[in-house]
């Protein structure tokens, strides 16, 4: 089933599902989108409409705008802190908390840390932000790692010169530990319990220092982490063990912007890239992702749909089919019908997927195909 596309007249840098109340097994209905490269950028909230509209399961409705708010600078990252609060990171170096009014009628600024990231005489863009309520961590082009608490006006801690290069992404490993990735291809673990400003651990690929752009942690196993970088390679790491990743997969032909494990079904992984594709990775056999990946894997992309996609090499598909007859397979499916401009962001929750592109379109899948929880 093809996703619903909606053109929103602004280039989209981030899309995020609003969290659903736990235990209710609801499908998400509301998502936030942040724009970039506009004269005036915005954070906007969209709704997918009623869930009980059609009995035949056909959701034709386009997302509709509920509310939005102006944003100073590009929206470089967005994360929901909880059901009503949203954190945004800006290219001006600011980190802001936005409050969503009940019934999503309005979006207002609750608090902003201006110039959290900065150079001595210039602004430095904040590149990513991650939340684990009530704590937030942000990273930026200035190489700082900053810890905040949502209800405190002053920042809790700043790790100055955490990195001599730009830190592109950050994720929580444990409550007090975060993992950052930078533009010289290193993963660094930081423990906030430690007083010193140096990382607890540094990991990197032994080859070229390819910049890493995204990182995500396995929802159940805290030591398994996936990264993606400039060369489009998907790497799976075990942070306890050594300096080499377990798996290197040629996922995309250009920068990978986001990688996400499915939060409740981690046998599914999603990646999106500058090359205009969004891939859904899944294991086809009984074994789960972590066992599979620990065996070390090397695979190329395969498309599930019968129709070959524009630009796809026929020989790739055939060599995959010819070479591999094993029971354990890692398969990838293109989620977008045709090659678009860069897919900058994706988010997945329950059975729903949302992503945004530089072609100013948001795509929503309300029922992920071949997906069961």
């Amino acid at each position: 089933m093809d996703p619903t596309a909606k053109y929103i007249s602004q280039k989209i840098s981030r899309t995020r599902w609003r969290p659903v109340p736990a235990g209710l097994l609801q499908q998400p209905e509301v998502f936030a989108a942040g724009s970039w490269d506009n004269e005036s950028n915005r954070v906007s909230i969209w709704s997918l409409g009623d869930d009980d509209s059609d009995t035949d399961g056909e959701f034709d409705e386009e997302p509709r705008l509920l509310c939005d708010s102006e944003h100073d600078g590009d929206v470089t990252d967005l994360q929901f802190l909880d059901g009503d609060r949203l954190v945004s990171a800006s290219s001006s170096g600011a980190v802001a908390i936005l409050k969503l009014q009940p019934d999503c009628q309005a979006l207002s600024l609750a608090h902003v840390w201006e110039r959290a990231h900065r150079y001595s005489c210039d602004n430095a863009p904040c590149t990513a932000v991650v939340c684990r309520s009530p704590e937030l961590v942000s990273v930026g082009e200035d190489g700082r790692v900053i810890l905040y608490k949502a209800d405190q006006t002053e920042v809790v801690r700043v790790i100055e010169n955490a990195d001599s290069s730009t830190i592109h992404a950050v994720t929580f490993l444990r409550t007090t530990e975060v993992l950052t990735v930078n533009s010289i291809g290193q993963l660094k673990m930081w423990d906030f319990r430690q007083q010193s400003d140096s990382p607890a651990q540094i990991l990197s690929l032994t080859g070229d220092r390819v910049p890493l752009h995204c990182v995500d942690k396995h929802p159940n196993q805290q030591h398994i982490v996936a990264t993606g970088g400039q060369d489009g390679m998907l790497c799976i790491w075990d942070v306890r063990q050594g300096n080499t990743p377990f798996s290197l997969i040629e996922a995309h032909s250009a920068e990978m912007w986001e990688v996400h494990f499915h939060p409740s079904n981690p046998n599914h992984l999603f990646t999106c890239s500058e090359d205009g594709s969004l891939l859904h990775w899944e294991t086809t056999s009984g074994s789960d992702m972590s066992t599979l990946l620990q065996r070390g894997w090397n695979s190329r992309v395969v498309s599930h749909s019968g129709v070959p996609l524009a630009g796809e090499d026929d020989s790739v598909v055939s060599s995959w089919l010819a070479g591999d007859s094993s029971k354990n397979r890692l398969e990838a499916t293109h989620m977008l019908p045709s090659q678009t401009l860069s897919v900058n962001s994706l988010d997945v929750l329950e059975q729903c997927l949302v992503c945004g592109t530089d072609g100013e379109a948001v795509y929503v899948h309300r029922q992920l195909p071949n997906f069961s929880i």
Partner: protein, 617 residues
């Protein structure tokens, strides 16, 4: 775009006049889609005073960055890219259906845009009308038989008020009494929608029993009207025969005065016969000459062949508009289309419509259909560049523009190279995207210059790791050397290395430049020394000096570092002697240091001799 220039010229003159009145003078300069205006120092009268240093940008009223237009640009961009990917070797029959489908996609984008705009849609309506006609005549290139059917669809699509009125009438309490009742019936007949006309007519028939036979007769006539079925087995000739038969039947009804009792039915019968005067009387219901044309063809010549179209078109326009009326630009364009003069259509569209989006995309599609002759290609190129300069006004659309540049014959590459360097690089992420575009197209000069800009900026902000990362991407050895020098300078000033996380993890990037290699190795030397692995450290230092990759400025520092090592028992000096002596010969070194070194060397040599002597005996 002479029209636009005139408007802006007037605006500028207006400002000029106002300002002259206030004793200031304006200068201006044309940009790609806007106008730069500035105050000059020139004064017509009165004392001079400082002019404001600002430059004003004057733009057209039409906001190209309006959300709806942006949707149009983005959606059509996707279609455009898909079109370019259609492979050349696909058989032409399959290609035609693909092209028709692409044409329909473009048109649905236009219609979606119209729906959102709601006002100021007249240009879009005209565009869709013209595009649809071009699709029918040129892209789909329907042959006789189907041609008329397609033209009927075309007319029906652009005259949708008939449906609303019909619905109104049918939903009223007594449709037959509704004031628009007969208008609706006639409109439906004029559009060849005989079944629907019959349905509306049946409302009348049920009321008046005594005249029901007349209505039944009309019902039969309408029901029997032959419609050509392109997918059916009937040939065009067979259809023609059948149609003439039916036509004669209608004519007989007129001669027999069958419908004399009801003037409306009489009118309808005259229409069915194709009586031109009656058709012209329906001027208000037809509303356009091209509707008149299609209706006329429907009832006089349904098997019209494409080459014969132009004769009927010209005469229809003349008949409908009358001798005194002058045709609008839209009418001229449509007429050129009916005359199959594609070149004229494009030319007139470019001038009259002032909408580069439409002309650029339509000509591109026609080009793919191989409908444009070679002398039109320059035209295509010019049109595309105009579209691009039009899009350029909305700065955010630079990524869309790239795909258009790629398919611009002749100058696309050159324009892209110029354009891409002007994209402001506000954030690293944006720079990465620009770089990807350049790398994909082997624009190595632009890659180098963008990386250099980013590296310099990083260096200015003291982000040495970032600067190095940019140099690596551009494979810029010279800049890597610069960064290394900066590191070494910092070391000399501070006495310790900064950014150890970078230096300790250079990896293969170290090989990018000699200076960088030296830096990495030198740091390694310090590390080895700190870990008390002196012989390894000494060997490393030695190799650094013999390899001659150490910068001259640091030789003294290196030798000073070597001093304590020479005291260590494990260090062998055979090679070091020759190396150090060559250094002394070339270099002008401080004398105290030289003395210290000579002393240390001598002692080391003495130790070695003693040691070796001891072993031997």
């Amino acid at each position: 775009e002479p029209l636009m220039r005139n408007i802006l010229m007037t605006e500028a003159r207006l400002y000029e006049y106002i300002y002259i009145y206030q004793t200031k003078h304006l200068g201006f300069e044309w940009g790609p889609g806007d106008l730069l205006v500035y105050e000059t120092n020139y004064k017509l009268q009165g004392p001079r005073s400082a002019s404001s240093p600002s430059v004003h940008v004057v733009r057209r009223d039409e906001d190209i960055c309006s959300p709806i237009l942006r949707k149009l640009f983005n959606e059509s961009h996707l279609i455009f890219v898909g079109l370019q990917k259609i492979k050349e070797d696909v058989p032409s029959k399959n290609k035609k259906s693909q092209f028709v489908s692409i044409s329909k996609n473009y048109r649905s984008v236009i219609r979606a845009c119209m729906e959102e705009l709601q006002q100021n849609v007249s240009i879009l309506l005209a565009i869709e009308l013209i595009w649809n006609l071009c699709e029918v005549l040129f892209i789909d290139a329907a042959p006789a038989g189907s041609l008329l059917l397609h033209l009927l669809d075309w007319v029906r699509l652009h005259k949708s008020d008939v449906d609303t009125r019909a619905r109104e009438v049918l939903q009223s309490d007594s449709p037959a009494q509704h004031q628009s009742y007969w208008d609706v019936v006639i409109s439906l007949v004029l559009q060849g929608r005989t079944d629907e006309a019959r349905q509306v007519l049946s409302k009348q028939a049920s009321l008046r029993a005594e005249s029901s036979s007349v209505f039944k007769r009309m019902d039969v006539l309408l029901q029997n009207m032959p419609i050509f079925n392109p997918a059916g087995t009937q040939t065009l000739t067979e259809f023609d025969v059948k149609w003439r038969h039916w036509h004669e039947e209608c004519d007989r009804c007129l001669q027999d005065n069958t419908f004399a009792s009801n003037r409306h039915l009489e009118t309808i019968c005259k229409i069915l016969v194709g009586d031109e005067d009656t058709l012209l009387e329906q001027r208000e219901l037809l509303s356009t000459w091209y509707h008149f044309l299609v209706t006329r063809l429907l009832f006089t010549h349904p098997t019209i062949k494409p080459p014969d179209l132009h004769y009927y078109a010209q005469s229809s326009m003349n008949m409908f508009l009358g001798p005194r009326a002058s045709p609008e630009p839209l009418d001229i364009i449509l007429l050129s289309a009916f005359e199959f003069d594609l070149h004229q259509v494009i030319k007139d569209c470019s001038i009259a419509l002032n909408n580069w989006w439409f002309v650029a995309h339509l000509t591109d599609l026609l080009d793919h259909c191989k409908l444009l002759q070679s002398h039109n290609l320059q035209c295509v190129s010019h049109i595309r560049s105009s579209y691009l300069s039009y899009m350029h006004v909305c700065v955010s659309l630079w990524q869309l523009a790239v795909d258009y540049f790629d398919h611009c014959p002749e100058f696309g590459r050159v324009y892209l190279e110029l354009q891409i360097e002007r994209v402001p690089l506000d954030t690293e992420r944006k720079a990465i995207k620009v770089l990807r575009i350049c790398e994909d197209r082997q624009m190595s000069e632009q890659v180098r210059s963008i990386c250099k800009i980013m590296a310099k900026r990083a260096l200015r902000n003291n982000r040495l790791g970032s600067a190095l990362s940019w140099s690596i991407r551009a494979k810029d050895a010279a800049f890597a050397t610069l960064i290394s020098e900066r590191f070494l300078q910092d070391y000399s000033n501070k006495g310790f290395f900064t950014d150890l996380d970078l230096l300790d993890n250079l990896g293969p990037a170290m090989l990018l430049s000699d200076r960088l290699t030296f830096l990495g190795k030198y740091r390694e030397f310090h590390r080895l020394y700190g870990e008390k692995r002196f012989s390894e450290a000494a060997r490393l230092l030695l190799s650094l000096m013999t390899a001659k990759i150490a910068p001259r400025s640091l030789w003294m520092t290196l030798l000073t570092d070597a001093l304590p090592l020479l005291e260590q028992k494990e260090v062998k000096t055979a090679n070091s002697l020759s190396c150090f002596s060559s250094v002394f010969q070339d270099e002008d070194i401080e004398s105290t240091k030289t003395e210290l070194l000579r002393l240390a060397l001598a002692r080391n040599l003495a130790m070695a001799i003693v040691k070796e002597g001891t072993i031997e005996t």
